[in-house]
Structure formats: C-alpha cells, structure tokens
C-alpha cells in the first residue's frame, strides 16, 4: 500500500506539491489565481510569497504570518496534520515525520517519530474510546433516569395542579366558617369588655396629657444648651448613625403606628383575651382543621415550585449531568479543600466561591456571586466538563484573583460524535490543539 502511494507520487510529479494534502493536490494542477492575478506554476513553492493568502507557498515558510494556507504533514503511521506556515523551516520539529523541517539535514534533521507518536496516539485514543464508551453508557442511564424523573416530576406537578382548586375551595369554606364563629364570639366579648376599655382609655388620656405638659417644660429649658457642637468627622458620623438607628426603630413600629393606642390598651387589658384565645385554639377543631388545610396547600405549592425549578435548572440537553443533582465533589489542593455542590454552591474550605448559576454551554457551567474579594470582584467558579465514566474534579485553579476554574470529569460531557473522531481521527489543525 505504502509502496503504491509512493509510486503514484513518483509517476506524476505535478501532483507532488509539497505541503499539500493528497486530496487537495489537484487544486494545484490547474492554474492558480490570487489577488486577481494568475500565478505561474513556477511560482508555486518557490520560497517567495506572491499571494497574501499564501496559496502559492503551501510547502514553504515564505508566507508565514498568515493562516489561510496551512502546511500539510502526511505523518505516515500517525495522524496527518496541518501546521501554520510559520512552523515550516523554523528549526523546530512540529510534525512527527519532520516534513516541516525538511531542510534540516544530518545531525540536525528532525527524527521521524511517527511510529512512536502513532502508537502513543492510538493508545491514548483507545483509552479515550474506552472512557467514552463507558461514559456514554453511564450517560445513557443517567439520561433515561433523568427522563423518568422528569416525567414523574411533571406528573406530580400535574397532580398538584389538579388537586389545588379543590383544596383551595375547601380552605375558603373553612375560612368562611371560622369568620362566622369568630363574629359570634367577638360580639359576646364586646359586651363584657367595652366599658372596661372605655375607662382605661380615659385614664391613659389623662396620663398622656400630664406627660406632654412635663415634656414641653423640659424642652423649653434645654433647647438652648443642647445644640451639639460637631467636634469631628467621627462625631458627625456618630450623629448620622444615631439618626439611622432612630429611623430603624420607627420603621420597626410602622405597621402598628395607626393602632398604637389600641395596642397600648391591649398591652394592659386584652392580654387575658389573647391568652384565652390561644387556649381556645388548642381545642377549637375548626382552627385545627384550618391549620392543617393551610399546611397541605403550602407543602403542595412548595413541592410544585421546587419541581418546576428543578425542571428549569436541568434542561433536556443537560440530562447527562442529572446525576450531579444533590451531589458534592471534593478537590484537595495543598492549601484548601474545595467542595463543588452542583445546583447549589461551591466552596473553598469555608469561603463561598459562588452559587450555582446554571450551564453556559453543553459542557460548561458556572457558580456566581460568591463572597466578595477585598476591593475586588465577587468570587466565581467556571466549570468545564470533560468526558469520563467517573465523576471527579480533575483540576481547580485561580487564573486571576477570585476567578476560579475547575475541570470536572463527568459522563455528561461524553458525546456520540467523539466516537467517530476517535475511531477515524481527522487531520489535526493547529487551532484544535490544547
């Protein structure tokens, strides 16, 4: 096979354009145009760059600096690759067959390492394939479970949605009954309590009047002397703080300010009524029933919103990651123990790096809004998933301060199409490296 290939090359010299993949060779058999001009055949690979896109120099470094035309290394016994023209003749062996440095001769020539590279690569591919197969298997299971869970959740939601109107009607009914019962009791209470309360109001009004007159007198005496001197910024700030404190106190009371009087009254008088109310509640079957009904409604609604959230958090395209639900993965560095709890939060020992913010791509997710760095941004953690059958954190770095990046191995990142690529590797392209 190898022999035949070589002889084909030998028989049709025009087809042997250095640096061009066999399937593209024919392009160079016809006349070549660039920049609106025809390029003479003699200008192909003459180590002089005539075309800005480098198309006249596919096999030399003459057009290095552009990336439209790349140099093809056959890499027999390994994977063919294309490299930037800047790699051709730069003194560094980029291709295992050394074809990018064909000018280096003797001792400085690039050794052909394609057999070793090929073996290493196929071993690596085997390993990856193995991982991929295992990963895909796990992923399939995960997905089918996720689908089932999805269905269950949807059914549950549906069930809740079906039951809720009935439950709500029951609750309304109970509330109505309770209102009626309360009205009857209140009427009875009023008859006994009203006179007493009236007397109390009168007493309090008198007390209030006397206090007010005292206060007016005292204020008259002190206003001239209490004008505070601002002695320092600190004092000024303290004043501000006081003001804010007052404000806060006011806000605390706000909801009740309108009924302040009655509350005062309650404080002294109605406490009996309240406590007796409580005592009553214990025994009031209506009250108990109402509470229970409210509880049922609430738990149903909570469940529904949790399920809805879970469904939204994990869309169908990420079902492969469903096994991460309620799971934490740990990673120990020399200084810290990191804990990545998916769909929840991520921590570096005791520092929160972020809350789960969802997937950003088929194989990437992010935790955001972690604890603030001093004078800097809030911490965040980007997660990149890598195909594998096991679940583990491969690496965790801080590429810039407070911006963390983790690589996590997980079957969710395994994709069928990888199989194809691993089984019959394509030509390697420089932009795919890394």
């Amino acid at each position: 096979m190898k022999f035949t290939l070589l002889s084909v090359f030998a028989c049709s010299p025009a087809a042997v354009i250095r640096g061009v993949a066999p399937e593209v060779q024919s392009k160079y058999l016809q006349s070549l145009h660039c920049g609106g001009e025809e390029v003479a055949l003699s200008a192909i690979n003459d180590d002089y760059c005539d075309c800005d896109d480098g198309s006249d120099e596919p096999g030399t470094g003459a057009c290095s600096g552009q990336e439209a035309t790349l140099f093809h290394c056959p890499n027999v016994e390994s994977t063919p690759q294309v490299v930037y023209a800047s790699r051709v003749g730069d003194g560094i062996c980029d291709c295992c067959d050394g074809s990018d440095e064909a000018h280096l001769l003797g001792q400085r020539a690039c050794p052909n390492t394609c057999r070793e590279e090929g073996q290493r690569q196929s071993a690596e591919r085997e390993k990856k394939l193995e991982d991929l197969r295992a990963g895909l298997k796990v992923k399939l299971e995960t997905i089918s479970q996720a689908k089932q869970q999805k269905q269950e959740k949807e059914e549950q939601i549906q069930r809740i949605n079906g039951e809720l109107p009935g439950l709500e009607a029951q609750l309304t009914e109970l509330l109505k009954k309770k209102e009626e019962a309360d009205a009857v009791r209140l009427q009875a209470d009023c008859k006994t309590e009203l006179p007493r309360l009236r007397q109390k109001v009168k007493d309090l009004e008198e007390k209030l009047a006397s206090l007010e007159s005292q206060l007016a007198r005292v204020q008259g005496e002190t206003t001239s002397t209490t004008t505070k001197k601002v002695v320092s910024e600190y004092a000024k700030w303290m004043d501000g703080a006081d003001a804010m404190e007052d404000e806060k106190d006011e806000t605390d009371m706000e909801p009740d300010t309108t009924s302040q009087d009655t509350q005062e009254v309650d404080g002294g008088v109605a406490s009996n009524a309240v406590s007796s109310d409580r005592a009553d509640q214990e025994e009031d079957p209506l009250e108990k029933e109402l509470k229970e009904m409210e509880g049922v409604l609430k738990s149903n609604k909570d469940l529904r919103s949790r399920l809805t959230k879970e469904l939204e958090e994990l869309r169908e395209e990420h079902f492969g990651f469903a096994s991460l639900r309620d799971k934490c993965l740990e990673f120990k560095s020399s200084e810290y123990t990191y804990k990545l709890c998916f769909f929840k939060d991520a921590k570096q020992s005791f520092t929160r790096l972020g809350n789960w913010d969802g997937f950003t791509s088929p194989t990437e997710a992010v935790f955001k809004n972690g604890e603030m760095c001093f004078g800097g941004p809030a911490r965040s953690l980007k997660v990149s998933f890598q195909c594998g059958a096991t679940e583990e954190v491969v690496s965790l770095d801080e590429p810039s301060r407070c911006n963390y990046a983790a690589v996590v191995r997980h079957s969710g990142a395994c994709v069928e199409t990888m199989m194809e690529e691993l089984e019959s590797p394509r030509i390697r392209h420089p932009k795919e490296e890394l």
Partner: protein, 1007 residues
C-alpha cells in the same frame, strides 16, 4: 447587639464609598519643603545680596590632575584657608566636567568609585590651550567633530562658562547659588577653621550656617512619617545652579519622572530619590524608581542657528532640581536650574553638543556604551503577576501558538517562589521547573524569573544564612547617647548655687562679741544657670546589627550591593548548579530594588542605615542601590553562560544602568493618561542613555478595556524597545488571545508588525551600542532645525521617532472622544504611511482614525530593513531572508539606510568584526551596499534579500536585475501600484529570485 452590628456595617459601607479613586498617597513621600536640606537650600538661595562672592578659585593653586585636567583650591570668604578642591576635566568628545569636594573632610565624603558610573575617565581633549586673564582661567579646546569650544572658569565668585563656536551655552553657578556644607563636629554650627568665630551666629558660610533666616531643623536628626533619621555626621548637602543660555524653548530629560517630554517648570522641584511609589500619578515632579539626572537643552542662537547641549549631575544621594525662567509666562529666553543633593561631592558634566547626536555621543563617552541585547529581548514578553503553575505556563505558551501570535519570553513573578525566598520554587505549583523551562526553550523561546534583592529571614534559606555569615547585610545603627568628650566645662562656669546676700548689711544692733561674727544670709545665686552637663552626642561607635525591614517575604534583610564582594557572591548564585530548576535560557528580573522596604521611611531603607562596605551611610548611596543590584545580576549571568548576552530587567536604576539592564517604567496604570505619558517617559529615558526601555503594555494596575489594550499595543510595538505585557494579581487575564476575535486580531497584527520590523530595531540597537544613538527619541533629536519640534505640543507629547526613519503618533483617547488626530510631520523631503505607503508632505495633517492602526510614517529618503516572514519567536526567524523597503526622496529619487546582522545572541560581535554592518544606498535606480565586518560562515543566519519594495517612484517599473559577484541576473518583472496622496507616486515590489546574498558583493538595479 443588633445595633452594634448594624453600625459596623454602616461604617464599612462608608469606608468603602470613601475609598479614593486610585491615587498616590502623597503623605508618604517628602517634598522639598519637608526635607531639611532642600528647605534650607531654598532659604540659602533667597538670601539678600546673593550675588556677593563667597567662594573664590585660587588660580595660583592650579595643579595638573594625574588623569588629565586641573585642580584648583577654592577658598570661602569667611574661612581662613581654602577647604574645597575644584577639579576641571575637558574630555575629547566635547565635555567639561567640574567637581568640587572637601580637601580634608571630618568624614569621608562619598564619591562614586571610578568605573561605576563614569566608566573610564574618557580621553582628555587633545589640545587645550590655557590662559589666565584677570579673574578667569580660559581653556580652549575642540570637540570630537572639530567644533571650537571654550571653558571659562571665573575665579570670584566661582563660576564656569562653557561656550561653543563663540556662543555661551551654559553657565554654572551663574546665579551664585553654590552651597557646600562641610562636615562639622556634632552640634557645632560651623565647620572647623571658619573666620569670625567670635560671632558664629552672624557668619555667612553655607546653607547650614548663615544669619538669614537659618533653618536649623533637621541638621542632626530629622523625623518623617514616624521615623527619625539620625545624622551623627551632620549637614553635608551641596547645591549649585546652572543657566542654559540663548533662547531656550524647551528642556528635556530628568528621567525618571511621570511628566511631559518638554519638562514643565513646576513650582515644586523635581525629586530624585528612588522609591517604590504605589499608583504613581501623571504630570508630577515626584520621585519614582530611578534617577538619571540629566537635562537636555535646546538653544536657539542668533543667526537662526539652533544647537543642543546637556548637563549631568552625578550624585547618588537624594537630589532636587528646580527649573526656572526669567519671564513670568515661563516661555522663551534662557532657562535655569538649581540642584541640591543631601551629601557626597559636587560632580557635574557639561556636554557641549552642539548637535543632539554629539550630546548623546558625549554622554556615552562618559558613561559607557550599552551592550547589544539578544534579538529575543526585542521581541514580545509575556508577564503576569502571576502564572501560577507549570500547567499555567504551558497553557499560555500553547495558546500563543494556537493563534499563531509571535512572542519570545514568558515571565514568572514572585509567586513562583517558596515563600518569597528567591532562587527557590514553590514545589506544589512548580514541581519540575527545569522541565517546564526546557519546554519553553524547545520552542526557541526564553524564560525570565523574578529575583528581588530583599532576602527572606529564614534559617532554612541558604542565601540568608550565607549573606549573614559573610556580614554582607546592610546594618542598622543603634546609637547610644554619650557625653561629648570634646565638651569641657568652661573655666568661668558658675557653680555656686547660694551666695551671701550682697544687699544685706550688718545690723547696727549686732553685737559681734555676743552674737559671733556677722554672716550675711545666703540667697540663691542669680548667676547660677544649673549644674554643668556635657553635651550629649551619639556614640561614634554605635551598635551595628543587621537591618531588618518588611517586604514580600515578611521580615527581610538587604545585602550591601555596593560591596564588590557581595556582588560577586550574588552573581555566583545564578550558576546553573546553584539556581536549581533553571537553564541557560533563563534570565532575571530585579524588582523592588530601590530598595522597597514596606515599613521603612518613604517605603525605603532608612538613610542612617550603614553599608558595611566603607561604613557609608545609606543616604550617600541610596539612588545607586538598584544599580548595584542589577549590575551584580548582569555580571552573574555573564559568568553563568560565558559568551551569552545577559538579560536583566530592573525597576530601579541610575546613570549608567544602560550598560547592564533593561528598565521599565514601573507600576503604571490602565489609564489613557498613562498610555500617553509613556511616550514622554520612554523619550526621557532614552535621552538618559537607557534605550532598552518600555512601559507595561496595558498598564499594571486595573484592567484596560479592549480599545485601550489595542491602542496601547499599537503604540508599544512601534516605540517601546522593551515590549512587555504585565498585569496585577487582581486583574483579569489579558494575554492577547483572551479578547474577542476582532481585538485579538488587532493585537496580533500589531505584534506581527513588531516582528516584521525586528531587523530595523536590531540595527538601531547596533547604532545605540556602537554610535550612542538613542533607539527611540523625541523629534528634536533628528529635526533640531524645525522649531515645531521644540514647541508644538502634539509633536512634543504625542509623537516620537524610532531611529531616524519612523515617526509615530500615539492615540491616547477612546474613539468616542477622538475621531481624528493632527499629525505633525517635521521638515524632511516627505513621509510615507507605514500602513499603505501614502505620501505626505511635511507639516500638520489631519488623520482620520480607525481602530486598526495609529498614525506612523517613514521618512522619505530611508531604506528600512524588515523580515516579511513572521515566526512564533525571533529565534525562528534567523534563517529567513530580508525585505528592504526603500522610501525615496521623491525629488532626488534617492534613499539611504543601514542593516546590521550578527548571530543575534552571543558576545562574539564584540571582537569588532563578526558581524555585517551594511550601509545601503539607493540612487539612480541602483541599490548598493557598503559593508564592514564579516559574518563567519559558521554563523547560521540569513543575510539574504528576498524582496525589495520601492516607494515614491515617479513611474512604474518595467524590469529589475541583480548583480552578484559580478554576475548579472534578470529578476521577475516588478509589480507596480499607484500610491495614495497628491504626489501621484508609484510603489513597486521587486521579487528577488534568486535571493541576493549580502555576505558577498552585490547590487540591484531597476528600470
């Protein structure tokens, strides 16, 4: 409890909102007024009748100096005998050096050891004719280029006039501001042997002893910022003025200051005191990291002649210089400067010019020539605080390759070390550093590690133990107060506390027989002023312990780098068997070498610390500490890899640092103002001899937006000889590939342009190393006769020249604020856009801006060497052929240029022949070369031409021919195109196939 918590939150929020927008903390750093010697110098020079002569040169004491030149004794009018010695040297290249020191000082006045700044005494002027006239000694000489010059030493008051071609350019002590404080015994007002000791309070002697509002604060100790500077040796400052005569439109120089190119005449003097200034600001005379106290003056003389001269103040102690004008509007007429330094000797050099080129030549004749940097040092450097691990380094390296972006060097900052003990590795993050660096070497790239001079105090750290045991650490002085042995009790000291009451008389009723002899009652003696105590002085033999300060590692010690033995030890630490994990492609970055001492006064070392080498006080050598550090590193690397060109980057520097080190402008800011200021800062530094210089691209602090990043790269690739991208720990990553694709491609295009122009850069560095020409320089350097280059704000502050061929105009505003730029093209035969070859006549041009490029123009009449093939690193380009761009003078159809080639990395070129230095000339359609030197065959670099591009032809070309070794070869028909611009000029590309080999005889002709 709740209230307390809430209050603390309020407090925190307040504290956060009042955090200042980035600004330097001025309270940390001294002004002239806050430092005693500068304050008293200001009082000294404002004394009444300042013009009256104080110091007089005694012509009869003239004696020849062993190294050439003359010495004179100088006597103060109020001193019995002469105490100062004036030395005058006239150097062949056209320099007049005047030094003044004490004849017999009480303490050694620190002088920079010969060779450390002034490399070797430069050759003395060949023919100096001397003549004494009444009141002056006249020395006539000629500069290296034959210009007649004179130095006239006026005897009383002492003054020195230097003139060229009959025109006085500079006058030293013109305004009689000379001050020279001789050492005196502790707490003495006057130094020994002063006249009129009878009235010491009224004698007019020096800034530390005079009757005119004398400020005696801080003579013997001086507090600042919670530290007290002990000065057992007392005041020893010195100062003088210099006037630049003629109409002087602008002064340049005084690096390093974050100021304008045309130096502003600030109220506050410029300060030279090397400091680690956090978040420095722009348009400021505050001190920064380094000091090259040189002033360049432009003198417009009668008859339309414009010349240039230089003035250098060589003193490593704290120095202030104030620029002044006679006119209130601060424009035109002569310009003046006064200088004052805290200690040492007065050492000044006048570089007489008269052209900028000769001033540069004179400066380097005095301070030595810089070495050729390795070509790689001119490529792109990628740095960050910090690449965190071996994987991180490998990733950055391969990301550059992934996008085919060229770069040469990757850097590691302090985090790579084991607890900031330099020379060590953080083993968790860098378990196999040697392998990591070898991988970088395999890509033909280089590696730089930071090694700071502060030494972690840690018994486990061998460098700490060894330096300590050798006694090389700078010492702290713990003074004990003792009785001054010279202070004896005066003979007339009243010791009686009680005396008999003189007013009392024996009462008449006193009966002596009965009452005994009458004795007057005792009263307090009014003449008694208390018990006599001798004056207290600091024990001259204080306890010396190793000085400890705070820096990155915590408690740190600071080696005495002024000691050659310490430098030798330091250098030996870089040996590959000592510095584990490194290889021969590893080079060094010295940071924090001002030195930075976090808890020291002004974030540096106390001035009263003692350098064990000569028991010199730190104040005497402060501004040279950084210089000695990077020099020790350079010399170590030289020994580590014999034959290799060392590379060291330093933050702190002094006059002469260019012989050893690259410098950068320190911790700048991602702000447009810093981008713009870098043009002036780089220009000032190159005028100070420091051509291997640059600012951090993108700014060190904070994060530049994409537009600022692009603009910064576009400028930096064209005008920063040292091109490094660096960033603070807290900023997001900013390597070129992290940006959006458009931005990445713009940065990549800029870097590709830099690599394409490397042959020009390298040739310019050869001009610098061999002919003292700054690689980058303000416009006046090349266009002195064009007055716009002295006064046009845009031309001065936004533009700069790369060599004599490329003019660059920096864009320092976002496009939202600036859509066009006015570019001033100086008087020449025309200019060609670097981007499309469009021809422009000299004068101001409005340039519409887009984000793809900044305005840059090649001067008509130049030949520019380039390499069109862009590789991943400069080493990978060594076998690639050259492209020559010929930019014709459209009137004459001629152009000239140069190309320098050597092996790009070894010191072999220093043999004076192992290189090709080619002068190129295009004339009458023929490109010819004259070469000196010969590249040995074994040097595997290309000296071939693959392409010649000719701009400014009147007609299209029809044919081209090369002649090699006498053999004519027809070349492919050139391709021509019409250039933009009114002149309707043509450009043509000549495909040189086969290549011309410039090692042999050749020429190329076109028709």
């Amino acid at each position: 409890m709740e209230v307390v918590r809430r209050m603390s939150w309020v407090f925190l929020i307040l504290a956060l909102t009042v955090l200042p927008a980035a600004a330097v903390d001025r309270s940390k750093f001294r002004t002239c007024e806050q430092g005693s010697f500068c304050r008293r110098y200001k009082k000294w020079i404002s004394r009444p009748e300042r013009e009256k002569a104080l110091w007089t040169v005694l012509p009869q004491t003239r004696a020849p100096l062993p190294e050439g030149g003359f010495s004179f004794q100088v006597k103060h009018v109020n001193e019995e005998t002469p105490h100062l010695l004036l030395k005058l040297n006239i150097y062949a290249s056209g320099m007049v050096r005047m030094r003044i020191t004490e004849i017999k000082p009480l303490h050694i006045r620190h002088e920079i050891p010969p060779g450390d700044v002034v490399s070797d005494p430069p050759p003395a002027a060949a023919k100096v004719s001397e003549a004494d006239e009444s009141g002056k000694s006249i020395f006539k000489f000629a500069t290296a280029d034959g210009t007649a010059a004179e130095a006239i030493l006026h005897h009383s008051p002492l003054a020195l006039e230097v003139s060229v071609g009959g025109q006085i350019l500079q006058r030293l002590n013109a305004r009689n501001m000379l001050n020279f404080e001789r050492y005196r015994t502790p707490k003495e007002r006057l130094p020994p042997d002063t006249a009129s000791v009878a009235a010491p309070d009224t004698v007019l002697l020096d800034a530390a002893a005079h009757p005119n509002g004398l400020d005696t604060n801080g003579l013997w100790e001086e507090p600042f910022g919670g530290h007290t500077d002990q000065k057992p040796r007392g005041p020893a400052s010195l100062g003088m003025d210099v006037s630049f005569l003629g109409d002087v439109p602008s002064l340049f120089g005084l690096p390093e200051h974050a100021t304008k190119a045309s130096l502003p005449f600030y109220q506050e003097p410029y300060r030279f005191f090397n400091l680690d200034v956090f978040e420095y600001e722009i348009d400021e005379p505050m001190a920064l990291y380094g000091a090259i106290p040189i002033i360049w003056a432009i003198h417009r003389l009668g008859g339309g002649q414009t010349v240039s001269s230089g003035f250098l103040w060589i003193n490593p102690s704290e120095t202030f210089v104030k620029l002044e004008r006679d006119t209130p509007d601060g424009k035109g007429g002569p310009a003046h400067a006064w200088w004052t330094s805290e200690s040492g000797v007065l050492d000044t050099v006048v570089m007489v010019g008269p052209t900028p080129k000769t001033v540069s030549a004179q400066f380097h004749d005095l301070t030595g020539h810089g070495p050729m940097p390795g070509l790689w040092a001119l490529g792109k450097h990628q740095c960050r605080w910090n690449y965190m691990s071996e994987k991180d380094v490998a990733t950055v390296d391969s990301m550059y390759d992934k996008y085919d972006i060229p770069y040469d060097t990757i850097w590691l900052d302090i985090e790579h070390t084991d607890g900031k003990a330099y020379f060590s590795w953080n083993a968790a993050a860098f378990p196999n550093p040697k392998q990591m660096i070898d991988n970088i070497s395999a890509k033909r790239r280089k590696f730089v590690n930071v090694v700071d001079p502060h030494i972690k105090k840690d018994e486990k750290f061998h460098v700490y133990r060894e330096v300590r045991d050798k006694g090389f650490f700078v010492k702290k002085v713990s003074y004990k107060q003792i009785d001054d042995p010279t202070d004896v009790k005066p003979a007339d000291w009243v010791e009686e506390t009680k005396i008999p009451d003189p007013t009392a008389t024996q009462p008449p009723e006193w009966n002596t027989e009965e009452d005994g002899p009458w004795v007057a009652p005792q009263i307090d003696n009014p003449a008694y002023k208390g018990a006599w105590h001798p004056r207290k002085v600091n024990d001259p033999t204080p306890d010396l312990t190793d000085f400890e300060g705070w820096c990155w590692p915590g408690t740190s010690l600071y080696p005495d780098f002024t000691d050659p033995a310490m430098r030798e030890y330091w250098g030996s630490q870089f040996a590959l068997d000592k510095y584990t994990g490194t290889n021969a492609d590893t080079y060094i970055w010295n940071d924090m070498n001002e030195p930075s001492v976090f808890n020291g006064p002004e974030v540096t070392m106390p001035r009263d610390a003692i350098h064990p080498n000569g028991m010199v006080e730190h104040r005497d050598v402060h501004n040279m500490y950084g210089y000695y550090v990077h020099r020790a590193t350079f010399e170590g690397l030289q020994k580590r890899t014999p034959g290799d060109r060392p590379f060291v980057l330093t933050r702190s520097f002094f006059i002469g640092s260019h012989k050893y080190s690259a410098i950068w402008t320190g911790d700048n800011y991602a702000q447009w103002s810093h981008l713009k200021a870098s043009i002036a800062m780089v220009g000032a530094l190159t005028l100070g001899g420091q051509s291997l210089v640059g600012a951090d691209v993108g700014g060190f602090f904070k994060h530049p937006d994409t537009e600022m990043t692009v603009r910064w790269y576009q400028l930096a690739v064209l005008i920063y000889p040292f091109l490094r991208n660096h960033a603070h720990l807290e900023t997001p990553r900013r390597e070129p590939y992290v940006f959006d694709e458009k931005t990445m491609l713009r940065i990549k295009a800029s870097l590709q342009m830099r690599y394409k122009m490397l042959p020009l850069w390298y040739t310019l560095f050869h001009r610098w190393a061999s002919a003292a020409e700054p690689v980058v320089r303000p416009l006046f350097w090349d266009f002195l006769d064009d007055p716009q280059t002295h006064e046009n704000e845009e031309a001065l502050e936004s533009q700069i020249m790369l060599g004599d061929s490329l003019l660059v105009h920096g864009i320092a505003k976002p496009s939202s604020e600036q859509s066009e730029a006015t570019v001033y093209l100086p008087k020449a035969s025309g200019w060609y856009s670097i981007h499309n070859g469009a021809f422009k006549a000299p004068g101001a041009h409005v340039h519409k801006l887009d984000l793809d490029s900044i305005p840059a123009y090649y001067r008509a009449g130049t030949v520019v060497p380039l390499k069109s093939r862009i590789r991943r690193s400069s080493a990978c380009m060594s076998l690639d052929p050259f492209t020559l761009n010929v930019y014709l003078n459209p009137q004459t159809g001629a152009a000239k240029g140069r190309l320098y080639i050597d092996d790009y990395r070894t010191r072999t070129y220093q043999d004076g022949k192992s290189f090709l230095d080619i002068e190129l000339e295009f004339k009458d359609g023929v490109l010819r070369a004259t070469k000196t030197g010969a590249l040995p065959e074994a040097v595997a670099v290309s000296a071939e031409i693959e392409r010649v591009e000719i701009f400014g032809l009147q007609t299209a070309l029809s044919s081209a021919e090369s002649v090699q070794n006498g053999k004519a070869i027809a070349l492919p028909r050139p391709r021509s195109r019409l250039l933009d611009g009114e002149a309707k000029l043509q450009a043509a590309v000549v495909k040189v196939k086969p290549f011309i080999d410039m090692r042999s005889e050749w020429q190329l002709s076109v028709k």
